[in-house]
């Protein structure tokens, strides 16, 4: 059923369809399916949620309910760069709050949101399990330990320059 090409002709749906087929469209695979969908599309738009609901024959409200229950699902396009600050206990004790505040003020972005220019998404993360290196930040997937407000801002600047040079 969901094998048919998506009307939009978007071939990313083929990846999602492959996962759905592999898991036999099982309803208990909803969370895994949402993970795959987010990986492929970057975030879960209403269209995607509806597509998943139809593919698994689930009520849309249940799909939305499950997706919004879990923190790792995004419902909006993410920024060009992402900065996650660990707010686990060890990082808290070592001053993660100040890092969050500095990034928030420096880029006018609330934790959990993306700056208006789409440059940076700021997240606060639950313990990343690198407590020996507290406080820890993750910038575009690269983990950096022993950070403070200044070094984090520098890291973001350094990270941002790389794609510019490539372009």
């Amino acid at each position: 059923m969901a094998e048919a090409l998506h009307p939009s002709g978007d071939d990313r749906f083929a990846v999602l369809d492959k996962h759905l087929k592999r898991t036999h469209h099982a309803q208990d695979q909803l969370i895994e399916t949402l993970h795959v969908a987010q990986e492929v599309f970057g975030y879960l738009s209403d269209d995607i949620l509806m597509y998943v609901a139809r593919a698994l024959l689930l009520p849309p409200s249940m799909v939305l309910g499950v997706a919004t229950f879990y923190h790792l699902f995004n419902f909006e396009a993410q920024g060009e760069h992402a900065c996650s600050v660990c707010t686990g206990t060890a990082c808290f004790v070592k001053g993660a709050d100040a890092i969050v505040a500095a990034v928030r003020d420096g880029y006018a972005v609330a934790p959990g949101a993306t700056s208006e220019d789409g440059f940076l998404t700021l997240r606060t993360a639950r313990c990343l399990g690198s407590c020996g290196l507290a406080p820890v930040v993750v910038i575009d997937g690269n983990v950096a330990g022993h950070q403070d407000a200044r070094s984090t801002l520098e890291l973001i600047r350094a990270q941002a320059r790389i794609p510019e040079e490539v372009n």
């Binding site: 009520p59 409200s61 249940m62 939305l64 309910g65 919004t68 229950f69």
Partner: protein
């Protein structure tokens, strides 16, 4: 085909009663006219066990237990109204009043509200916690009904009745924790929902003024929570009980505008 159910002797507030095996404390108490206050429990629906208003003390157990979700056990001794329980219930009600925007004076359900009734019974005359005053827009897009989330206590009766009795599953809970809220379909306005059958069971089941008929004025909204139990009994036993009392049907007021 009435099945023979095994009797289980239990004591509720010093009264010995013969409960049935497989029955909850709440069900047994109600059959014997012993009142245990509850909110999220609705006869005929699955047990949710979340409002914690119906907590009772069971001898030998340190923690209070929800009467709706605790099955009777031979020789169980239950107390339903100790000072500790009264105080806990009052605090839980205060938490509910502080969480939403419950203003009885302007509410369609004023006088017909289970939250209001429970608060009065519990003697909850003021709220010691800071009011959260959340911003929650009203959804009046449905031609027949209105959803006012300010009065919603997330008891999920509407979710369960829509799923378990009507079979439409229009409603569900989105987000979590203090941000948990009711949604129809993908969170779009209720009026745009294509799965809603306009059956009104959610409105009938709502304990507060969160769900009501379009055009209801203050104090006019009447719910019919016993509807669910009647439907379930009719489906199961082929016995059709008339409504206990027939409220002035909002349908008659508004006409069936479908």
């Amino acid at each position: 085909m009435p099945e023979v159910r095994r009797s289980i002797a239990i004591t509720i507030d010093d009264t010995e009663i013969d409960a049935y095996e497989g029955e909850s404390i709440l069900q047994a108490a109600r059959r014997f006219g012993i009142k245990i206050p509850s909110m999220c429990y609705l006869e005929g629906l699955s047990v949710w066990g979340a409002c914690r208003i119906c907590v009772v003390e069971v001898a030998g157990q340190h923690q209070p237990r929800p009467a709706c979700a605790t099955l009777v056990v031979e020789d169980m001794e239950v107390r339903t109204n100790t000072a500790r329980l009264q105080s806990h219930r009052r605090t839980i009600l205060e938490l509910l009043f502080a969480e939403g925007n419950h203003v009885c004076a302007v509410c369609v359900s004023n006088g017909n509200c289970e939250l209001q009734d429970r608060a009065v019974e519990a003697g909850m005359d003021h709220v010691r916690f800071d009011y959260r005053n959340p911003l929650r827009p009203v959804d009046a897009t449905h031609p027949k009904y209105v959803f006012d989330p300010n009065r919603c206590i997330v008891c999920t009766r509407c979710v369960r009745v829509c799923d378990e009795i009507e079979g439409a599953h229009v409603w569900d809970v989105a987000s979590r924790g203090h941000q948990a809220h009711l949604v129809t379909e993908l969170g779009q306005p209720w009026g745009r929902s294509s799965s809603c059958t306009w059956c009104g069971k959610c409105v009938a089941s709502c304990p507060t003024g969160a769900l009501f008929y379009q055009g209801s004025a203050v104090g006019e909204s009447v719910h019919a929570p016993d509807l669910v139990a009647r439907l379930v009994a009719a489906r199961r036993d082929h016995e059709w009980f008339p409504p206990v009392e027939s409220p002035t049907s909002p349908n008659e007021q508004n006409g069936d505008d479908r």
